[in-house]
């Protein structure tokens, strides 16, 4: 019996080899060895809502979390909530590291005021976030929250933080409707999709003169919201024949690729996250699509380049997030042994703002909330000042290039 099993197992394996030989016989002549890919995401230009280029203001120095070194405070903590595990973990970990850097710099410089960071892993899932929000709120030492990270989970938990009066500044949730719920505690540390969407769309329409664009969304709160904004602004340029919806978690996009090839657009705009964008762009390129691949902040992550490889070359990525520059970038790289990622800058800046409040004596939830509401100052990524609904007063979008 055992002999038979072994023999048959070998037969199966051998047969597999033979078939591969037969099938591969028609392959072409050997080509060059594949090279190690050195593609990186590099900042290109800042754009405003009309898609026109805007020069960055280099003159003002960003706020330093170290402050004057003389702050005193009772033990308080700042919480951070986001995806620290799961397929989108890179985006959450970037924010956590940014906040961590700000807090560690502050604590090192101010021995009289030691603030603690309390991270909470929601996996970016609205359902898990709903279970975690009460834990954050019940901790009496937590007077501020940087997060949640994703739009879906922010939508699910905003009411909880509003009721508890806990200031919740998100470093990355860009869905437009989040600031329309009347939450007094919601603050957005970057431009929303209502700005990102039209800015990218106008950039494609006006600056790049695209005549036909396929808009693909991934059926998530974030993806749909952004895609809707892009479709509305593009108007007739967004080809109605390739208005495609895929699902988060999909790995096979052959039907979408067929549709895109049939429509023959100048660009494809993918509204979703990097774990789907990577196989999608690879399958697009394998299928022979030669136009531009454009996406937004959910895709802008080194994992996108790693997983898509050479297919990601030339991809245009929009992001409300600013590039990490100056001493912040060096300190981050030294501390975490990797370069700052998407939203690290926002995490750092929002953490710094809360620390400034704590240093200034705002050690209760109402006091810190008030401080943030009235804050006006420069950060690494941008100037921070908020409208009564929690949106920034000045909003610019960055365009990045994979090269």
């Amino acid at each position: 019996m055992r002999g038979r099993v072994a023999r048959n197992a070998f037969a199966l394996g051998g047969a597999g080899l033979i078939v591969l030989a037969l099938a591969g016989c028609s392959q072409g002549a050997p080509e060059q060895q594949a090279e190690q890919s050195n593609l990186k995401i590099v900042e290109k230009v800042q754009i405003d809502e009309n898609g026109a280029e805007v020069k960055a203001d280099q003159s003002v120095t960003p706020a330093d979390p170290a402050g004057n070194g003389k702050a005193t405070c009772p033990p308080v903590s700042i919480a951070m909530a986001g995806a620290l595990n799961g397929p989108d973990a890179a985006l959450g970990i970037n924010i956590k590291n940014g906040v961590q850097l700000a807090i560690d710099k502050h604590n090192a410089a101010n021995p009289g005021c030691q603030v603690q960071l309390k991270p909470f892993d929601t996996e970016g899932d609205p359902q898990k976030a709903t279970a975690i929000a009460p834990q954050i709120v019940d901790d009496q030492y937590t007077i501020g929250l940087v997060g949640p990270a994703f739009s879906g989970e922010t939508k699910a938990t905003g009411g909880v933080f509003d009721q508890a009066g806990l200031v919740a500044a998100t470093a990355s949730a860009t869905n437009v409707t989040l600031s329309e719920n009347g939450w007094k505690t919601f603050f957005r540390g970057l431009a929303n999709d209502g700005v990102q969407g039209p800015s990218v769309a106008n950039y494609l329409k006006n600056t790049l003169s695209n005549k036909k664009v396929c808009v693909v969304d991934d059926s998530t709160d974030y993806g749909l919201g952004l895609a809707q904004a892009v479709r509305d602004t593009l108007g007739p340029v967004a080809d109605a024949a390739c208005n495609i919806s895929v699902k988060k978690g999909d790995k096979d996009f052959s039907a979408a690729v067929t549709q895109v090839k049939g429509a023959g657009p100048d660009s494809v705009f993918y509204s979703g996250y990097y774990s789907e964008a990577a196989p999608f762009v690879q399958q697009l390129r394998d299928g022979g699509f030669e136009g531009k691949f454009v996406s937004a902040d959910g895709t802008k992550d080194p994992e996108f380049v790693k997983q898509a490889g050479e297919s990601s070359k030339g991809a245009l990525l929009a992001c409300p997030c600013g590039p990490a520059t100056g001493s912040f970038a060096d300190e981050y790289t030294k501390k975490f042994n990797q370069e700052p990622g998407t939203y690290s800058t926002e995490g750092y800046d929002l953490g710094t703002i809360m620390l400034k409040g704590i240093d200034g004596g705002a050690i209760t939830r109402p006091a810190l909330l008030d401080f943030v509401r009235n804050y006006n100052g420069q950060g690494v990524g941008r100037k921070y000042q908020w409208t009564p609904t929690g949106e920034l007063t000045t909003t610019l979008i960055w365009m990045y290039d994979v090269q």
Binding site: M1, G13, L20, A23, Q307
Partner: protein
Amino acid sequence: MILAANINFNVGALVDSFWQLTIDGLSWGAIYALVAVGYTLVFGVLRLINFAHSEIFMLGMFGAYFALDIVLGFTPSGNAYNKGVVLTIVYLGVAMLFAMLVSGGAAVGLEFIAYRPLRKRNARSLTFLITAIGMSFVLQQFVLFILPKLIPGYGGPNAQQPMVLVQPKTQFTFLGVAISNVTLVIIGAALVLAVLTDVAINRTKFGRGIRAVAQDPTTATLMGVSRERIIMTTFLIGGVLAGAAALLYTLKVPQGIIYSGGFLLGIKAFSAAVLGGIGNLRGALLGGLILGIMENYGQAVFGTQWRDVVAFALLVLVLLVRPTGILGESLGKARA
């Protein structure tokens, strides 16, 4: 207002790309078919739905990756490698053997650790089911959390960086359909494996043993068939085929090597097995092919995001009309 989903009814798209969709569907169907065999054989012999089979498949993917990475020394690179025809085939063959080894071993190990103790205690079938679901999660979480600590760079929350050995290229056009080398490899390999498995089950001695145990375990023992050995062989065959399917899948979707990569595919393969007639080997193969093709048609007609819905709706519809599946349950029935 944002519509959460639009549903089209675009029969035109189906008619236009009919053959292309069929061929693409066949290559997906081949992968489903190979995985479905594992479900159907185990059900036939043990009346157990082995929900952990999707993770056996997932482990096979990691096995193939391991072969390419550590045994053969490839590094994840931006481009596809092109080492020439013969070498590529040899490398793929080695990767497939490794995938089969890992999957087969995992399947047998799973049987030994999780199901055999339950059988010894005459547990109820519900207990088996719960254990199967539990083992599915255990294996997923193992790859998510523990594997990165055992082998740095493997597992964890992100997909493995792909190593593309075969650059998808259209080999020839037939009836207006571009047939790529990847499709050829998948369909060819799956065909041979399917034929071999069919021969193994229907014409060899231990295949007769499997059918005997599926029909009546007690009488089979009286006839001199070792039940435990048959069960181990059944899991082994299912695992080996899942390993082969895993390698073929990584050719199609190089970014799919992640701890959760087997889950949805496993559910679809199980549906394919039920569709074709659970417990029936040819039914599993047929069900896999049908599911792959109909899924693709459904995507074209209704919209890309309805793909999974079409797959499961098809299952429900077929079961309403023919509850035993298309070819009916037959592993346990006496055949001339």
